[in-house]
Amino acid sequence: MAGAAAERMGWVPAPRQGWVAPHIASEFPGVGVAWVEVDAKPGKSPDAVRHRLRDLSDRTYGSHAIRLRERPIPWAYRVFFRQIGLDPDRTRTPVEQLTLDRLHDGGFRSRGIPADALNIAIVETGVALRAFDADRLEGPLCIRDSAPGESLPGQAGEMAGGTLTIADERQPVGLLFGRTAAGFGVEPASRRIAVAAVQVKGVPQIAVEEALWMAAATLESV
């Protein structure tokens, strides 16, 4: 159970484990979503976070980017992308996108809080993270496919049948990998941030917990 180890170690807030629709869990064993909520305001990153990004940039080379897809966790996400119909060379996995951006820009650019906190954790662990406005979420997060006639808030038209989404109790809050529904992303007025990790087969639980802990710790330090 996500967060069990963290709770034993006294880490607060402990990650919470979302649920996965049974037919999706049976198709994709190992898929899960876990999240943690942190009191934090979006804004400019402090010097310590920017320094950490620079340090990460110094540790990330071209050879690292080329061999990235052979490492277990980035490979697991690439495989999952293939299995859900995405081309991971077009719709990049989060860690590959960040690594390519680092090579393109010459370093990890600071994009403020919470993006920097997530990016540090993604690059360090390889785990796919995303942020939501926690005050807008209702109930636990889950991974499910779209219901007939359901649409993603802020996006015109219905979602195609079987579209995989992250949802709360009421509605989808984003595509599983892709855009976040309008109103659920972190905005300047947000005061509580939910950092969610999407786990796929091949990504160990400890890596998910480490990624959430790292992002949350960075957000709490601001």
Binding site: I24, W75, F81, R82, Q83, D87, D89, L164
Partner: protein, 169 residues
């Protein structure tokens, strides 16, 4: 490899098909093929371009059917086959170039103005081997040839100087 039997046809024949099991097996095959393609990509990078792209079948993440999973599996298998062929061909070319280099080092006068780069023999870095005359025109007239080894790459000190100049701006 197209689906040989449509599910509805199988039902008509009285043969049950465990579609979920088939999809799980296809996903397992996709994961194995993706690992192999990633390995070939890493091995070939910097030496030769290998075909590694397999287009997605959906613009958004969704559950795929048997036919779509089969199509992805088959495309990955095709790419791996093409990539292996490209790697083997490149390996042969590098072997031929290494033999050529050995001959050039042995008798530079037979390869006047010849040039073999490190990339040609599958070695990392810039530079290469160049057949050049001793003492310029005199060597050309006398037939005195030698092989010069060039490191080729700019020195780290020079790059640092460029960075310092950019920072100063």
């Amino acid at each position: 490899m197209p689906a040989l039997l449509k599910p509805e046809e199988a039902v008509g024949l009285g043969a049950g098909i465990d579609e979920r099991g088939a999809r799980l097996e296809l996903r397992r095959q996709i994961s194995r093929l993706e690992a192999e393609l990633a390995r070939l990509f890493g091995e070939a990078f910097g030496h030769t371009d290998i075909p590694h792209r397999v287009d997605g079948v959906a613009p958004v993440p969704r559950l795929l059917g048997l036919g779509e999973l089969e199509a992805i599996r088959d495309s990955l298998a095709d790419r791996i086959s093409e990539a292996r062929a490209a790697v083997v061909e490149r390996s042969r070319a590098e072997s031929r170039n290494r033999e050529l280099l050995a001959e050039m080092l042995e008798a530079p006068e037979r390869f006047k103005w010849g040039r073999i780069t490190r990339a040609d023999v599958g070695e990392p870095g810039c530079g290469g081997w160049y057949s050049r005359p001793w003492l310029g025109p005199v060597g050309m007239l006398m037939g005195w040839w030698r092989v010069k080894v060039s490191s080729g790459c700019p020195l780290a000190g020079r790059l640092a100087a460029v960075e310092r100049r950019l920072e100063a701006r």
